[in-house]
Amino acid sequence: MKVSLGRYVPAKSLFHLADPRTKIIWTIVMMVFVLMCRNWIEYTIAGVFIVGCFIASRISFKFILQSLRPILVILIITSLFNFLFYHGAHVAFFIGSKPIYFESISMSIKTVLRVTMLVVSASLLTYTSTPVAITDGLESLMRPLTVLHVPVHEIALMMSIALRFIPTFADETDKIIKAQAARGAEFDSGNVFKKIKSYIPVLIPLFIAAFRSAEEMSTAMEARCYRGGKGRTRYKVLKFSASDVIITVLTVIFFTSIILLHIYIRKDISVSHIFINNF
């Protein structure tokens, strides 16, 4: 059984080659600025930038849609609420006796765009970096926290061991399911509760196996001189490359343009204005 971890899509692109730390910071910056966007110019800049990044990452459009699927319901509900209940000054049309404003139309579109951009920029990180790379990046970024006695090395080690064992335990689960099925266990009959209950004979041996593995692994680690993060050197070192510089420069340009727009254009340029001016 082959299990793929995370949602990593292998490719060679600007984003794939970049350091995970750059991508993590990029994601955080994008999220902050998407939330800061107010008017249509800012939304357009943010949207163009994110779309540009996605093209640069060579992730196919199919995957972007896939990442949006889980939040589809949230998108529909929030945009519907905004559409129906947001109060503005300019009535566009009536549904029955309920007035729909230009502002509410623009608001619901903005909400959809905002949530979409948030999710898409976060998924760019997970599509272009392996979970191990993300762990390494987080460890490196969180290292200053050791001053505050945050066990950064231990957290990172736990994460990477967990990642290492997911496929192993997936195999183990597969074996246990087959072993229990051979003893006459049924896994796909009855209602939901019965189905959940039928997995107990799988989970208990799995837990026992996991505990045993943990115990054996700690002995093995001790035998290989592991004694915590102190005095440890590192084999794998994260390095910034040209692609990191490119991403950083582009992000800084984006960053400043949004900030400048925020300062100079205070007035909300919304659809209603454009509509009204044109009418």
Binding site: R164, A220, R232, Y235
Partner: protein, 315 residues
Amino acid sequence: MKENDKSFIIFDDVTFSYGDPENNSSEELDGTSGNSSGDSFASTFDGSSYSERPKEAVKNVSFTVDKGEFVAVIGSNGSGKSTVAKLMNGLLLPQSGTVISAGYNTANEDTIWEVRRLVGMVFQNPDNQIISTSVEEDVAFGPENIGVPRDDMIKRVDEAMKVCGVMDLRKCEPHLLSGGQKQRVSIAGILAMRPSCILLDESTAMLDPKGRKSVLETVKKLNKEEHITIVLITHHMDEIIEADKVIVMDKGSVVKTGKPSEIFSDKKLLSDLSLELPPAASVFDSVDEFDFGETVLSPSRGTEVLLNLYKRSIS
């Protein structure tokens, strides 16, 4: 360092039992130590002896392992052979007697990490000793722990992977490897720490014949070319043929020590411990009518013996 010239590991009248409340390290390991804890479990769950103190997993054991030697430890389940291995690198500490490994007393806390660096250990289950998410990082785990500078580490890791024949797998994820490959990665991981001795605690027990062969070949190569002391703990009789010395254990004590041929010619011992002869040996052994004049252990030696006989018969 109170190391004498030849001996690398010295067991002096060592006794150890699991489940002794005074010994903390045994509590930690109880229940996971496989074969060796079988004894204490048997007595713990045996109704009649429930209140008795668990009997010793290892009792008054004394032996030495010389530098550069290939030593095999055999014995059936519960004979204490895994406990002996864990005593060698200080994962367990003896309740009485002393264990001197690489010149250091394993009971000395100041030098325990030096002992573990010099005496590496490969365990039985290949899955539970690979820590990192790729082969090369796992090989680097030991050197990272002992603080080897990065440039030196890269050299060591490459060397170790080359010797163990896992160079092509360096970027591989561990769960995609076969059992034999995993064990060779583990050996490489120990080798990268530049040890003087490698303990293999039933490391071939969970492997298929092909994987077993590859691991044994690697180990033999290390012994011959790198002069690394090997302690091979096993219950496969055919693995001990090429050992310099065999230590036979039963019920926590050493029953016999000697060359493989001496062990195999001791019919009473073999039948008492229900140990099986390797295939070639049992073929030659089954010929009662003729005395070959020696205990034949391997097929190649058997061919030589037969050829000599043939030559003698025509001349």
